[in-house]
C-alpha cells in the first residue's frame, strides 16, 4: 500500500465541516487540520497580508493557527493549517443569555475590523464562536473574504437568525426559548420570531427593522428570485451604509438585556442548610480529590453558580460548568468574566442532555459524543436525578461511567433536608436510595477509590474510577 493511501485511510473529514467550499477541517493521525482550497487562495492570502489575522489573534478574538507543510486531504488543497484546538465544542443552545450576546458582539466586532482591512465576514453562524477558558473566540479562519465595495452583507440574514432572533426572544419572551436554537440549525426563522415576540417590540426601532420588517420582506420576496428571467443587477450599498447597518445591529443587541433571578436555583447557596464549616470541608474534599487525580479537564455537573468549578480550576483543571438553570449559568458566566479562570459555564438538562443533531445526526455531537472527560464532579446532584426524576441509581452509574474516567460524587441521603423537601409531596418509592444501595449500584460500573463523610451533614463523598473509560 502506498504511503498516500495509508494517509488517506487515517484522515477523517469532520462531520460538521461541509457547508463552506473555501476549505474544510479534517483529522489526520489525531491532529485537527484545516485545508484551504485553491478557490479561496486569494482571500486567505489577503487575510494574512492585510494584517487582519495578526490583529485578531493578538486581541484573542480568533484562534491562532500554524501553516504546516502537510499534504492536503484532497487535490484541491492550497494550504493546510493547524488551528489551536478548542477542547470542548459547545453549541448556542447551551449558552446563557450573556454568552450568546457576547458571541453576537464579537461577530460584529470582527466584521467591523475586517471592513477596516478591506475584508468582510462571509458568514455569521453562531457555531463559528466558541468559548475558550470562559471567553468567546472565533474559530473559523476561512470566514473572511475580500470586500467588494458596494456589495451588501451576504451574512445579514444569517446574523439576524443566529443571534438577534434568539436574543430578542430570550429577553422579551422567555429565557428558555434559547432551546429553539437546537431545533433550527441555521438560526431561528424570522417569521416565527416576529410572530412570537410581543407587540411592544414593534416600537423598538432595531427589532422592528431587523426582525419584524425583515420577516415581512422575506415573505414578500420569497418567490421573487425565481420569477426573474432577465439577468439581474447587483444590489449596491456603500461601505458607509454597511457601517450604519452594523452600528444599528450593535446598538439593538447591546440594549437587549436579561436579569437573572427568580428562577429555581439562582439563590441556591443562600438557601441550603449547609453550615459554613461543612461547606468549607466540602471544598477541601473537592480540592483534595482534584489534586489526587490531576485531571486536565473536569465537567462539573449541576454546578449551580460554579463554586466548586472554581476550586477545580484553581487546582489546574479546565472546567465545563453545567447547570439546568439559565440564571445560575448566567451568574456563573458573569462572575467568570471578572476572574481569569478556565471555566466555561454551559446550560444542560442532564435528564435530557444535548443529542447529536444536524445532517445525518453527525453534524453536531451529543454531550457524550464530546466526551469522555478526565473527571466529573456530581455534587448535590444525585437526589435530583434519582428522586426528582426517578432515574434508577444503576442507570445514573452506567451513564456517568461512559462520560468520564473519574467521578467525585456526593450521596445525599433521605435524612437530608433537600431530599425531605423532594419527598414531601410524593410517595417514597425509592427503597434502594440508601448509602448501601448507592454503593451497590455504582460498584457495577465504578471502582470506589475513596469514601469520606461530609462533617456536619449526613452526606457522603465518593471518589470512583470508571470501569468503562480507560484512565
Amino acid at each position: 500500500m502506498s504511503s498516500a493511501a495509508t494517509s488517506l485511510q487515517q484522515q477523517v473529514p469532520l462531520a460538521s465541516s461541509f457547508r463552506d467550499r473555501s476549505g474544510f477541517l479534517f483529522k489526520r493521525d489525531g491532529r485537527l487540520l484545516r485545508q484551504v482550497n485553491r478557490s479561496f487562495a486569494a482571500h486567505y492570502d489577503l487575510f494574512i497580508s492585510s494584517g487582519l489575522y495578526k490583529e485578531l489573534t493578538d486581541s484573542r478574538l480568533l484562534v491562532t493557527h500554524l501553516e504546516v507543510s502537510e499534504q492536503g486531504a484532497t487535490a484541491d488543497a492550497y494550504k493546510v493549517i493547524e488551528p489551536l484546538l478548542i477542547p470542548f465544542i459547545s453549541f448556542p443552545s447551551e449558552w446563557s443569555f450573556s454568552q450568546l450576546k457576547d458571541a453576537a458582539l464579537l461577530t460584529l466586532d470582527l466584521q467591523e475590523r475586517a471592513l477596516a482591512h478591506g475584508m468582510v465576514l462571509k458568514d455569521a453562524s453562531s457555531y463559528n464562536v466558541q468559548f475558550l477558558n470562559g471567553r468567546p473566540i472565533f474559530i473559523d479562519t476561512l470566514s473572511f473574504e475580500k470586500y467588494s465595495e458596494g456589495t451588501p452583507w451576504i451574512a445579514y440574514r444569517q446574523f439576524c437568525q443566529h443571534f438577534l432572533a434568539p436574543l430578542a426572544l430570550m429577553a422579551k419572551c422567555d429565557i428558555r426559548l434559547n432551546h429553539l436554537m437546537q431545533l433550527y440549525i441555521d438560526g431561528l426563522p424570522l417569521d416565527m420570531t416576529s410572530a412570537l415576540l410581543p407587540w411592544k417590540t414593534k416600537i423598538n426601532p432595531g427589532l422592528m427593522l431587523h426582525i419584524h420588517m425583515h420577516a415581512r420582506s422575506q415573505s414578500k420576496f420569497a418567490d421573487a428570485a425565481g420569477k426573474q428571467t432577465e439577468p439581474v443587477k447587483v444590489a449596491r450599498m456603500s461601505a458607509q451604509a454597511l457601517r450604519g447597518l452594523l452600528d444599528s445591529l450593535k446598538t439593538t443587541i447591546t440594549k437587549l438585556s436579561w436579569l437573572p433571578g427568580g428562577t429555581e436555583w439562582a439563590d441556591y447557596y443562600e438557601n441550603t442548610n449547609y453550615s459554613d464549616s461543612a461547606m468549607e470541608q466540602k471544598k477541601t474534599l473537592v480540592s483534595d480529590a482534584i489534586q489526587r487525580i490531576r485531571p486536565k479537564m473536569v465537567w462539573d455537573l449541576g454546578a449551580n453558580v460554579g463554586v466548586f468549578s472554581e476550586i477545580a480550576a484553581r487546582n489546574g483543571a479546565a472546567v465545563l460548568s453545567f447547570d439546568i438553570d439559565p440564571a445560575a449559568v448566567e451568574k456563573n458566566y458573569l462572575r467568570g468574566k471578572q476572574r481569569d479562570l478556565p471555566i466555561t459555564p454551559l446550560l444542560m438538562d442532564l435528564t435530557n442532555p444535548t443529542p447529536s443533531y444536524g445532517w445525518a445526526h453527525e453534524e453536531r455531537a451529543s454531550l457524550e459524543g464530546r466526551g469522555p472527560v478526565d473527571m466529573i464532579l456530581a455534587l448535590a446532584l444525585i437526589h435530583h436525578l434519582a428522586i426528582g426524576n426517578n432515574v434508577p441509581l444503576s442507570r445514573v452509574a452506567e451513564y456517568f461511567s461512559r462520560l468520564s474516567g473519574h467521578l467525585l460524587i456526593e450521596f445525599v441521603p433521605k435524612s437530608d433536608s433537600q431530599v425531605i423537601r423532594l419527598l414531601k409531596s410524593r410517595e417514597d418509592i425509592f427503597p434502594d436510595y440508601t448509602p448501601q444501595g448507592f454503593e451497590s449500584a455504582f460498584s457495577a460500573n465504578f471502582t470506589i477509590v475513596d469514601k469520606k463523610s461530609v462533617a456536619g451533614s449526613d452526606r457522603i463523598m465518593y471518589l470512583m474510577r470508571s470501569r468503562a473509560v480507560a484512565v
Binding site: 473574504e145 467588494s148 456589495t151 439576524c160 422575506q218 421573487a224 450604519g244
Partner: protein, 71 residues
Amino acid sequence: MKMTDFMFILLVPFFMPNDAHAYLDPGTGSVILQVVAAGVLGALFTIKSYWRAMVGFITGRGKKANDTEAK
C-alpha cells in the same frame, strides 16, 4: 395584486444579490431590506460620527471620534 406588491416586484431586479462566490443564500427579501435600510442607517451613522467628533472636540476628549469616520 395590490399596488405596493406590484411596485416591490418591479424593484426586485435592482436589489438581487449576484455574488457568485457566496456559499450562503443571502435571501432576496433580506438583501432588499438591508439595502433600503442601510441607506438611511448609513446617513444616521455619518451624522452620529460627526456629532461624536464635535462633542469630542468641544469636551477635549478623544482625538478622533470614530475610526470609521465618514469618507
